[in-house]
Amino acid sequence: MKIAVTATAADFDAPMDLRFGRAACFLVVDTETMSWSVVENTQNLNAAQGAGIQAGKTIVETGCTAIITGNCGPKAFRILTGAGIKIVTGAKGSARQAVEQYKAGELQESSEANVEGHWI
């Protein structure tokens, strides 16, 4: 199974990034082998608006089935759930630990956005 996790650096042992739309980068992880690759989010870090929407689009295009992150707003939530991707929040520690917590069934899938959207 391929899942994504927001990370503060392009390193599986870097701390998780609590931001979704403006996360430093995304790590795409194969949960069987724990092998990982980096998907950059540079363009969205400096976007005036719509970072969550575009990050959602990026994740959909990776073909991941779930995203582990800190916070997810309503617009990103709509894109992700629209594409059938599970949004998982509440993880702690490094990106690797977050994925391990997810595999161990310690994390819950969000049924709604957990933060307010940003307007403009």
Binding site: A48, Q49, G50, Q54, E61, R78, I79, A83, W119, I120
Partner: protein, 282 residues
């Protein structure tokens, strides 16, 4: 002639200056309240014969059956208001800046022009002064299109005074744009000076003639005066920091009606602006 009353900092006295200036000139003046998120001109000049019109802005409407998922609209939109993700077109109306580009580029005719309510336009009268005001819908974030509609409603008038919102971002630029003179109201405090500098930078980018009104003069120090001297900016007027001014203001009364010296000062202000605009266009 269109005069914009602006400031970097909020609460410096924009509305005080705009209302008193309008009343000092009197007949034939149109006063616009472009601070559409918190209009307050009506607290000083209570409008008669108030007419309200709902104001809308364009947003695209999607015909999902006609959409061929080409992504042309999604690629064009800088604001992600319309985004194609995995063959599904998502619309976020409150992100839309109403440029209409998506409707133009759609090759399948799947997008048409719809609308969304922004707020209300209010037109009324106070003695000989025409009052035009915008009131943004609660929860709405996009004020510039409404500000533009308020200004459109005053087209062709002889003398227009615009009460702008505070700050230096899009709503302020929308209020200032296309006007002939910007009056920057400030106060002699570090906060007033800091935000005045930001406002001066913004006005200089727009390339408009401008000058300063110091409100609550004598309340702080002389740094605003020194700054104006260094930058070669004209200080057109100072409003004293006095108990009398504060009392009239707190009662929602006009300084020009209660204090003869203020009537004279505001009358002189419009002449100074007229002279500056003529110098600028010569």
């Amino acid at each position: 002639m269109i005069i914009t009353v602006a400031s970097g900092k909020g609460g410096t006295g924009k509305t005080t200056v705009a209302t008193n200036l309008a009343v000092a000139v009197g007949k034939g003046t149109t006063l616009l309240d472009c601070d559409v998120e918190e209009p307050n001109v009506h607290l000083f000049l209570e409008p008669k014969n108030l007419r309200k019109t709902p104001i809308t802005t364009m947003i695209p409407v999607v015909d999902q059956d006609a959409c061929i998922q080409c992504g042309a609209c999604s690629e064009l939109c800088h604001f992600s208001a319309i985004t194609l993700v995995a063959d599904e077109l998502y619309l976020f109306p409150n992100m839309c800046h109403s440029c209409g580009g998506c409707v133009m580029v759609c090759p399948a005719g799947a997008l048409t022009e719809g609308s969304r309510e922004l707020g209300e336009l209010e037109i009324g009268q106070w003695n000989d002064i025409e009052l035009i005001s915008g009131r943004l819908r609660v929860g709405e974030a996009m004020s510039p299109p409404l500000i533009e509609r308020v200004k459109e409603a005053a087209e062709g008038r002889e003398l227009v005074i615009v009460d702008a919102p505070p700050g230096t971002s899009c709503p302020v630029i929308a209020a200032m744009n296309g006007t002939h003179y910007v009056l920057l109201v400030t106060e002699p405090t570090p906060f007033g000076l800091n935000d005045l500098k930001l406002a001066v930078e913004a006005v200089r980018v727009l390339g408009m003639p401008f000058g300063i009104v110091i409100n609550r003069a004598d309340a702080g120090d002389d740094r605003v005066v020194r700054y104006a001297e260094e930058e070669g900016i004209e200080i057109l007027m100072s409003i004293p920091y006095s108990r009398k001014v504060a009392e009239y203001y707190a009662r929602g009364r006009l300084l020009v009606e209660a204090m003869p010296e203020m009537a004279e000062a505001f009358g002189g202000l419009v002449e100074k602006i007229r002279a500056a605009v003529e110098r600028g266009t010569r």
